[in-house]
Amino acid sequence: MSKIPLQFRHNGRDVAIFVDGGTNLLVALRELIGDMTPKFGCGQGGCGTCSVLVDGELHLSCLTLAETVAGRTIETLDGMKQGPNLHPLQRAFADNFAAQCGYCTPGMLMAAKALLDRNPSPSRDEVVEAISGNICRCTGYEPIINAILAAAGGRVSA
């Protein structure tokens, strides 16, 4: 079995790994790089908890063939903190009780970041649309929507 060499940029750092054929990006990040922030929830594009940014665009890492990200830039929740400080979105999620079991939170935060990076002042409908591919089973969407709006409105200090 031959391994495929793969290099990409991961949260501002260049990484190089060897993957098996067919390995998805989620497995590559978790098992080969050790970034456990993206989670496995469904493996089929239904839950969004594995969401990462590929060149700034929201992608599902479980449906991404690892070798397709060669040379590209991957951002995960592990890279969201700004030095020792929480990102405004992280602060807003905490302040607004936007996490309960926490399992959907990494994907929710990346979906929210993808939105705010492109659209710093989204409407409520745009927030709903932005997280529509992310399933939360316990917190409920209201606190999450409120948290994203709060972060966008600058009502949260970093």
């Binding site: 456990m36 602060r91 926490g102 399992y103 939170t105 089973r137 316990c138």
Partner: protein, 531 residues
Amino acid sequence: MLELRKDIFADERDDNLKEIGKGTQRQDMLGHVTGTSSYFGDHKLQGMLHLKVVRSTQAHARIRRIDTAEAERSAGVRRIIRGTDVPVNLNTLLSLINFGKDDEPSLAVDKVRYKGEPILAIVADSEREAFEAIAKVRVDYEPLPAVFDVEDALKPGAPVVNETYPKNAFIYHDVYDHQRLRFGDADAALAGADHVLEQRYQMSPIEHAPTETNGAISAPDTNGRYVVYTSTQALFFSVDTCAKILDVPSNTFHFIGGTVGGGFGGKVDTLTEPLAILGAMLTGRPVRYVFGREEEMQYGPPRGAERIYIKDGVMRDGRIVARKIRAFFDSGAYTRLSSYAAVKCAAHLPGPYTVPNVYGDVYCVFTNRTPATAMRGFGVTAMDFAIECQMDKLANLVGMDPMEFRILNAYRDGDMKAHRREAKNTALIECVQVAAEKAKWPIRDEFRRASSRKDGGGSRAAIPPTPTDSSRARPTTPSQQRTSYDRLPPTVTREPPRDPPPPAPPPPSPRPAAPSHGATRFSSVFGTRRR
């Protein structure tokens, strides 16, 4: 937004609340928003193997032969585990509290009883190699007639799902095939009621659909122990269940859990831990067994289906005088926790209302469906759905406002409940009043003035004479016309009941002596026991 109604029952508590009504940060929030909270799957161990199970394609079948020859030779396969490899291959979850008989194998041996039942476990170097080996296993089935309906399962001649319970019903206290509640004479009261309404309600199974699927990682530790990372919601329960199935002392295991990616009751069944540990025992390597999404949705245990029949007798003035209930819990092929759900259900009857004559039969039934388990208020949820639908229909039948109808029949402090406990700290009336206020739903003054602490007890505290089932003659044809809700012409005038809510009719017998202390103890599972 949160609103505290401190005006209600204000005299019953110290109003100096330090926590309630104030925001308090969760202790795990920082971990959640930074992604550093550690779930079972976030542990990467050197040399970890992957376990997948071969599942039954049949709902009910005898297993003639399992051919693993080709699978054994498949690339990357380390071990194929059969039922005969499981030290104690028969268990029931509540055996830990001596409730129920062992009825479920970890891996099916002679027979499969539901579609998706695990038959073999394959431990391989990668998930892909485990899947490839699964595709090479040949299971020769002899299909058996299956039963999927709770009432069909109880009929004579129905296929026997689970030989541990040959009549397809869980057996309580080694004798009873259902939970029974008798309070007063429901048949007599139905015969004397102005209206009788009988309805059938049904709820389908509900999947918990946690975002994190069920799973466990087990690894050999020093001194013959095993460390187990698990998604379980019931960690100590899982430790003991694994100790029993694997026939080792429970201190063999070091379970690490607590951070669960959503459970809702669907992670108490200890489905992945025993096989993950056994895999680690048999290979000497860390073994991970995690459900895929389709496995979780199809074969992870759901909230069980229920079918409920309610027959109520109601007087023209709105008083419910009798409530007769038959309920069937679909446990699926094995008991898991449905036996307990039926107990909870019987204890909940007749809902939060004071009904002087109550009759309940609650069955925990085995069918060839996915075994059911706990989920948020299981045992009570579907019954409440049925009861509250019935309440709306009864209110309509007697021409009463549904909110006022509930206040009229609500239990109050001091009332005797059907299972012979005095109602205390009741608050349904206040809940309905606040709900009506919030919904701007007009209710009349006498109902707005009603209180859970007024007009209860007294004659409503009595335990009525209750005929035993053996002494009861077959009920004669009711004298009044049975009313079909569906055909009811909406001609009933909205005639208010006279005066404030009248108490339920006083059953004549006096209150019984207070229960003697010390000699007996009541448990919802075991019933009354001698200490």
